[in-house]
């Protein structure tokens, strides 16, 4: 089991069990992480699953696709260096124990 700690917009923490190969958004949404609305269900159409990853995880993933880049540029919470749409991030075993932040809009 891969456990990921989400820091919600109000600063509270939520430990979430994530499945290998699923998206980070699915893990967060299933656990009801505050701030991960995921209206479009993973189509990268709404940017309501915006998260900030740890630098080393962000670097390991490689650059987002152009569509995601563009959505992030105008996300409701201002984009940060390690911002991603969590629906486009696939959970891998090496993510066990990472801390992911949900930014404040």
């Amino acid at each position: 089991m891969i456990t990921i700690k989400f820091i919600q917009p109000d600063g509270s923490e939520k430990l979430v069990s994530a499945m290998n190969g699923r998206s980070l958004m699915e893990a967060a949404q299933g656990a009801g992480v505050v701030g991960i609305v995921a209206e479009c269900g993973g189509s990268a159409a709404c940017a309501t699953c915006h998260v900030v990853l740890p630098q080393e995880v962000f670097d390991r993933l490689g650059a987002p696709e152009e569509h995601e880049e563009d959505m992030l540029d105008f996300a409701d919470a201002p984009r940060q260096t390690c911002s991603r749409l969590s629906c486009q991030v696939r959970v891998t075993p090496d993510m066990d124990g990472i801390i992911v932040r949900v930014p404040t809009a």
């Binding site: 699915e26 009801g32 609305v37 990268a44 159409a45 709404c46 569509h67 540029d73």
Partner: protein, 411 residues
């Protein structure tokens, strides 16, 4: 407030239940759904799920354990038979009855069927709304060579794109003079028509179906101009109607849906409505939206109203559709007669900006996420960019966004 009963275990019903718990409600919540599934996402049904790229479990909005953890009494496969407003109780199809202090109607909408005289009891004709609709259709689609889609709206066009992707011959019939007639401008409709034709979908626009062919199993259709189309499967996407029967039988006020005020309350102060079934009476007119975003928003509005902690409803209409490699994103509410400004970003990427009385009212963005995001934000803030700047592809969208916002603060 001890017992809250929510009728309808879809996106709106779940959103309401989740918000009630998130905001500290500690009483009983019962969530009743007539489908056998726990609340699930519908949009992928006509996309990834139909293609087999997503299994049923991944459609679920919450894992089944969530309901126990949050003490939400989820009852699936059960319908509500009647509402007893005087006794504040509902009777279920399994004979049980439940008392409520507050009742939420989140009954959704149902696909409009073909008129019975056209259908004539033939098999092979499908509407798409529930997961079970896909399950029923899938084996027929697997064996089919060709599909006829009746209705050139979003569901129909998404189904057409998926069927083409499966290698089937696809015809789309739309009785109105353009695709997406009720919701999109000519420019958007034309771009989507071009995309479908490029991919080999045969479009018949402005043509009604006069009859279906085949004795017991559908074999095709005849159109008003005499064209005959053969098809192994017919998919009907001619809109949806709000499910109001239960509310109507209970004597609640009905408009284009179950009528509610800006707090989500019906004509009975103990009963609320949310999602596709609810018609909000707002200062500038009645509004009923069918979308995921609106189901989530109104579910939360109702939760806030029940707990007397909410701020009421501010509509934030937005919508998306995936067809072939087109990602269409829409914000705001278009109306016939709006002035359209076209912005061409790159090849295949364009956006259509709807101005009404000089004010930005809506945007359709085709493979243009930046334009979509900017348009959406400006509409929410009540700001209007200069149409000349929008039409100029050499003006970066970010500059237009910043200038429009700066102009507000300079006022």
């Amino acid at each position: 407030m001890k017992q809250i009963v929510i009728i309808g275990a879809g996106q709106a019903g779940l959103s309401c239940a989740a918000k009630l718990r998130a905001d500290g409600f500690e009483g009983e919540i019962t969530l009743i759904g007539n489908e056998k599934d726990a609340p699930y996402q519908r949009p992928p049904l006509s996309k990834a799920y139909l293609l087999g790229n997503l299994d049923a479990e991944r459609l679920l909005l919450r894992p089944l354990t969530w309901y126990d953890q949050h003490q939400v009494d989820l009852r699936t496969g059960v319908a509500v038979a009647t509402i007893d407003r005087a006794g504040k109780a509902v009777t279920l199809s399994d004979g049980k009855s439940l008392s409520y202090d507050a009742l939420v109607l989140a009954t959704g909408a149902e696909a409009r069927p073909l008129p019975e005289d056209l259908l004539g009891g033939r098999s092979g004709v499908h509407t798409i709304r529930d997961r079970s609709d896909i399950e029923m259709m899938r084996p027929e689609l697997d064996a089919a060579q060709s599909v006829l889609v009746i209705g050139g709206g979003y569901i129909g066009l998404e189904m057409a794109a998926v069927a083409r992707g499966l290698g089937l011959g696809v015809n789309v019939v739309e009785a109105a003079p353009a695709l997406l007639g009720r919701v999109a401008c000519r420019e958007t409709a034309a771009a989507i028509a071009e995309l479908h034709e490029e991919r080999g979908v045969r479009l018949h626009i402005g043509q009604g179906v006069t009859e279906l062919t085949g004795e017991t199993q559908v074999t095709g259709a005849r159109l008003a101009d005499g064209t005959e189309i053969s098809a192994d499967v017919v998919i009907v996407g001619i809109g949806a109607a709000p499910r109001t029967a239960l509310a109507e039988a209970a004597g609640l006020d009905i408009a284009n849906g179950i009528l509610v005020d800006a707090t989500g309350r019906t004509s009975d102060p103990a009963i609320y409505a949310a999602g596709d079934c609810a018609c909000y009476r707002l200062p500038d007119g009645d509004l009923r939206l069918e979308s995921v975003g609106n189901a989530i928003d109104t579910g939360e509005v109702v939760a806030g109203s029940i707990l007397e902690s909410g701020a009421g409803y501010t509509p934030k209409p937005w919508f998306w559709s995936d067809q072939f490699d087109l990602k269409l994103q829409i914000a705001g509410r278009a109306q016939p007669g709006d002035m359209i400004v076209v912005r061409i970003s790159t090849i295949g990427a364009r956006s259509h900006w709807y101005y009404r009385d000089g004010v930005l009212a809506a945007i359709d963005a085709l493979n243009s996420p930046r334009a979509y995001q900017v348009g959406r934000k400006l509409i929410l803030d009540g700001l209007t960019p200069d149409p000349g700047a929008i039409a100029d592809p050499h003006r970066p969208i970010k500059d237009i966004f910043n200038e429009t916002r700066a102009a507000l603060f300079a006022r």
